[in-house]
């Protein structure tokens, strides 16, 4: 494995951990999968559909999200929104993230 591939894999691992937090923070309000992807991309966090959609389903299975199908312009779309449990969990995740960031900032500077 070349150094470039190693770095790429490590970056992927870093992003994988961050995506859950980013997705949850975007789903305080109802969104469908593609719109979540666009919101993340606008913030510079590119996530491919093969990663995002299964993640949304997994978070729903874990009870952090709820979903419902809705017809829009004769097209079905699945909308996700944070569940009550998700709303309880998110502040704890955000706090943990802040701790990690401040801890890392000390090491990085």
């Amino acid at each position: 494995m070349t150094q470039g591939q190693t770095v790429e894999n490590l970056i992927q691992e870093l992003r994988r951990g961050v995506i859950v937090l980013a997705v949850l923070n975007h789903l305080k309000e109802e969104q469908y999968g593609y719109s979540v992807m666009k919101l993340l991309a606008d913030q510079g966090l590119e996530v491919d559909q093969g990663t995002l959609y299964p993640l949304l389903r997994r978070l729903e299975t874990q009870g952090l999200l709820e979903s419902s199908w809705r017809l829009e312009d004769a097209r079905p779309r699945r909308y996700y929104v944070m569940s009550e449990e998700g709303r309880q969990v998110l502040p704890r995740l955000n706090a943990e993230w802040s701790k990690i960031v401040s801890s890392l900032e000390q090491s990085l500077t």
Binding site: G33, Y34, D48, T51, Y53, W69, R77, R78
Partner: protein, 337 residues
């Protein structure tokens, strides 16, 4: 939408039936969103080329389906260390059984050495394939029947960990026993070779019949040399207190010498013999055919024991060679010591 429909159907083929329809519907919706976005960005209506472009970005249907599935294992990470341990035990047992089989085959059917080695390797490989297959199936059944299995999750105490055995340290009593046995062998085979035989109580008197033939006695000087070298090796070992690479190499040389001498006996003329006069002295009331059968049985038993000894010594020698060369284990231990 002909490519999209085919793509979604293909993804569905790799999904469990329970969630298939729901995921298919979601993927279809996701692709339609992508196409709409692409069409808006390019200012063009959706066409087949655009479908192909979007689907290519999504990746192969199998990969897309896999991303929706939980990690699946034939033998999961929790079971895998136990699988490896079991496999090691099974392989070790099979190797010993094959070595014994090799020795028996050498002793019984007198094949040429290459034939015996080929038969031994072939039966070992067959046995290994069969046994490894069974172990894999058993572990796969455990994995399938207990999803989410977690082993070793109980609290553990580092103080209960086994101490690392010092394989380089020698046992002095063991060396002394080996030296004693070598001295005994040199004494008996050189000074009292007639002691090796069969004794029987006939009419209240002990009768002893030596059984070693000239074919054996001619090799006694060579065996004596080997035993003498073995005594020297054991004294050297006892004085050092630990195994060192030079001592290991000397052990390999002694093992090879022993294998060669036993090989001479196994493939050479008979080294044990009992004639009808000897049988009569022992009080055996047997005819010539029966004496021949008894002699052959004793000879076969001794040859089997020798064949097994050759096989086990050869295995040990290979292990020593591996440790000294490929594995590089001894230098590591030396460095630690």
């Amino acid at each position: 939408m002909k490519f999209v429909d085919s793509y979604v159907a293909e993804v569905g083929r790799h999904l469990p039936e329970k969630s298939r329809a729901d995921i298919e519907k979601e993927i279809h919706s996701m692709i339609e969103d992508s196409l709409e976005d692409e069409s808006r960005a390019k200012g063009l209506p959706v066409d087949e080329d655009m479908e192909v472009e979007v689907l290519k970005r999504l990746g192969p249907p199998e990969k897309m389906a896999t991303s929706y599935l939980p990690a699946r294992y034939l033998i999961g990470p929790d079971l895998f260390p136990h699988f490896l341990t079991t496999l090691r035990i099974v392989i070790a047992v099979l190797t010993v059984v094959a070595a014994i089989g090799f020795g028996v085959s050498l002793a019984r059917s007198q094949p040429t050495l290459p034939e015996a080695i080929a038969q031994g390797i072939s039966s070992l490989l067959n046995g290994l394939i069969y046994a490894v297959g069974i172990v894999v199936v058993i572990f796969a059944i455990i994995q399938l029947s207990t999803p989410g299995l977690k082993l070793n999750s109980a609290e553990w105490d580092p103080r209960k960990l086994k101490a690392v055995p010092d394989t380089e340290k020698i046992s002095l009593p063991e060396q002394i026993i080996e030296i004693f046995l070598s001295v005994l062998a040199i004494t008996v085979f050189n000074l009292y070779p007639d002691w090796i035989g069969i004794s029987s109580l006939v009419n209240g008197q002990w009768v002893h019949v030596p059984v070693l033939t000239d074919a054996f006695l001619r090799l006694v000087p060579w065996f004596s040399l080997l035993w003498a070298l073995d005594i020297g090796h054991n004294v050297w070992l006892a004085s050092k207190g630990r195994w060192e690479p030079a001592l290991r190499w000397a052990q390999i040389a002694l093992n090879l010498g022993g294998i060669a001498l036993l090989g001479f006996l196994l493939f050479g003329p008979a080294f044990i013999s009992i004639n009808s006069a000897d049988a009569a002295r022992l009080g055996w009331s047997l005819d010539a055919g029966q004496i021949e059968m008894v002699t052959s049985s004793i000879y076969l038993a001794v040859r089997i024991a020798m064949g097994v000894t050759v096989a086990i010594t050869a295995l040990n020698t290979l292990k020593l060679l591996y440790n000294l060369t490929l594995r590089g284990r001894i230098p590591v231990l030396d460095a630690r010591a």
